[in-house]
Amino acid sequence: KKFSLVIHGGAGTILKKNMTPEKEKAYQQALNDALQAGYKILNSGGSALDAVEATVRVLEDCPLFNAGKGAVFTNEGKNELDASIMNGKNLAAGSVASVTTIRNPITAARAVMERSQHVMMVGAGAEKFAKQQGLEIVDPSYFYTEERWQGLLKVRAEDPDSVALDHGNKTKTTGMLKQPENRDYKYG
């Protein structure tokens, strides 16, 4: 009865000094909820594919993480979501990119993998396919959180020319690929 499930919720400058005890507790709870969703499936003999989809859906529905509800905003103030999934048994794979109306993009990625001959669909076409497959379609405002919106406003205020990566020391560089001093100031 051996099985393993591993999850992540994003990497970056996550420092204890920037975290409140309440927020840390909320993250711990959310990560545990995600693990339990997958564990339930695996422990009953279910497939790894079902487990990873169920786990990611929990994380997509949780506004604490940058996926689904609580995703960051584009320069135009939209939530453009991407997701992919892969089945190690037969190397089948599915992915969607730049979708704005699909509540759980990971389920759309799985639909592309299992119900089309393709691997990747993007934008309006991916949304149309998802709707045809009966996936839950939501108004783009479903993904909105005040915290992420403020994050966009803050970045825009600090660096109007957001195409250029600003590397922390406030001097602009035009080379997108220059070695940044502050690796985490990579916006847009």
């Binding site: 919720g9 564990y39 695996l42 957001s162």
Partner: protein, 134 residues
Amino acid sequence: TVGAVAVDMQGNLAAATSTGGMTNKKFGRIGDAPIIGAGTYADNNTVAVSCTGWGEFFIRLSVAKTISDLMEYKNFTVKQATDELIHKKVPALGGDGGLIAVDKNGNIAMPFNTEGMYRGYIKQDGKPVIAIYK
């Protein structure tokens, strides 16, 4: 970005990744999350991988598939292969981030070269392990 990888009782592997991308992104920019072989990969013979970080570097290095290849062709362990990419290749190019991986035997790796990564795992004993900081 969020992700999950698993190996089930039948020995089948799977990987999944989902993201909102980068704050203030323009021109339809996408990172590695929707790119099979860059941010997500799974093969029953080697490993399942889900990545998070500065997507451009994970795409340019095809990080997820390269980890599978190192294990298949060079007999790297999951730790050796993932450390090679996250602690050597990605930083050397100027990128940063992390990933989660599980191999066909249930061995797991969660390397990252940033200050923190929300991560966790659970096995058949049902005991969840959760970590955030370095």
